[in-house]
Amino acid sequence: MDFSFSIIVEAWPTFEAGLITTVIFCSVAGVLGLALAVPIALAQLSRSWSWRVPAKVLVEIVRDTPFLVQVFVIYFVFPATGWPMSSTVAGILALTIHGAVYFSESIRGAILSVPRGQVDAARAAGMSYPLTLRRIVFPQMMGYVLPPIGNQIVGLIKDSAVLSIISVPELSMAFQNVLGTTFAAPEAFVAVAVLYWLLTSAVTLAMSRLERLTPTHRSTQEMTSLLARVDR
């Protein structure tokens, strides 16, 4: 079997445009998703059921249906109920909601990793709840939240490939266009796989750099076990 780079070189403008669209969609949805994830996580941890129940329902619905079906529901059901929907808006909306729910699950876990006693102590000392979150909880949870968030950003990039089905012109759409024009040349398969792989690997690498830069706070439990080791 021959493998000719000229096919990839010729198709490069198509791939490049697709790659840029994928990056833009994932960046926008990633930022919006992270911004939405914090309130969703806090609502799930809320003491009042009027916050907890809607958040839980949203999380369960998103987690228990395929992303593809979510995309179809947003793209076809919203217009029927009077919300006009372009493939761009539907794509970003679907990706954002999907991302927000998965991000919120890791944020919720990270918040829970901060010992409850610290929150109680801060509240008893007269700090308001938002201040407690900002000063006590958020700084300590960073070490716990970054690794899963990194994985979920990679997941977001991979999920975005589905958006070609509602004709968002992203990387997998570019790939399918190249497939059509080159009569399914193996080069196209290699090119698209390598591009996605480079993109996800770059995110993984950047996230592990970020993790190293973030000071890791240790819980009281870990501290006591560390100190015990020093004593010996």
Binding site: M1, E60, T65, Q70, V73, F76, S172, T200
Partner: protein
């Protein structure tokens, strides 16, 4: 526009048939994925450097590229290499190759949980490594990975929706066929989403049960 459900009630048996197909494809992919996962795991601990490098590359490719692309590659690229595979088989192959990479990670976690003393004891009793693997390690690992495996099954139920793209007739494809007939896409998509939700939500409850009993299971 208001939603009209009577078309959907007519098509419900048709959709339920698709649901069954989704379950069947996912179960098949889970079983084959478990096999792939065991082999990938063995490859990673192999004595041969080339085999280890190969499995590392495999894991990296599977986890670094979208499943959607993997499905298209298996469907379009294998025939180009001269292998003629029908769409059902090619869909199941793509899903199980993908799932196998993730399952091998679960097996690795399960292996790490088995106390080293047991393996030493088995060795001291004169058991060969193959026998230790069959009698001591594998049975315990399979129990340990049962909860994450049910979670993987939920994942497969959801990701098998992507097989509709290559025309494999499962729930999502059925939904598209029903829409072709009834032209009522909002109602059909909501029903389809509900069917997936019921399956995955129920499995989630099973997973939580198993997690509890696995936590009680002592090695």
């Amino acid at each position: 526009m208001t939603l009209e459900w009577k078309h959907v009630t007519h098509a419900l048996p048709f959709l339920l048939e698709g649901t069954l197909a989704t379950v069947a494809v996912s179960l098949l992919a889970l079983g084959l994925g478990l096999l792939v996962g065991i082999f990938v795991m063995l490859g990673r601990r192999s004595r041969f450097k080339a085999l280890r490098a190969l499995t590392v590359a495999y894991m990296s490719i599977v986890r670094g590229t979208p499943l959607f692309i993997q499905i298209l590659i298996v469907y379009y690229a294998l025939p180009a290499l001269g292998l003629d595979i029908p769409r059902f088989e090619s869909g199941v192959i793509a899903l199980s190759l993908n799932s196998g990479a993730y399952i091998s990670e679960m097996i690795r976690g399960g292996l790490m949980a088995i106390p080293k003393g047991q393996l030493d004891a088995a060795k001291a009793c004169g058991m060969r490594s193959g026998l230790i693997w069959r009698r001591i390690t594998l049975p315990q690992v399979l129990v340990l990975i049962l909860p994450p495996l049910t979670m993987e099954f939920t994942g497969l139920l959801k990701s098998s929706a992507l097989l509709s793209v290559i025309g494999l007739v499962e729930l999502t494809r059925r939904a598209q066929q029903v829409i072709g007939e009834t032209l009522r896409s909002p109602e059909v998509w909501l029903t389809t989403a509900a069917l997936y939700f019921v399956m995955c939500f129920a499995l989630g409850a099973v997973t939580r049960r198993l997690e509890k009993s696995a936590a009680e299971y002592r090695l």
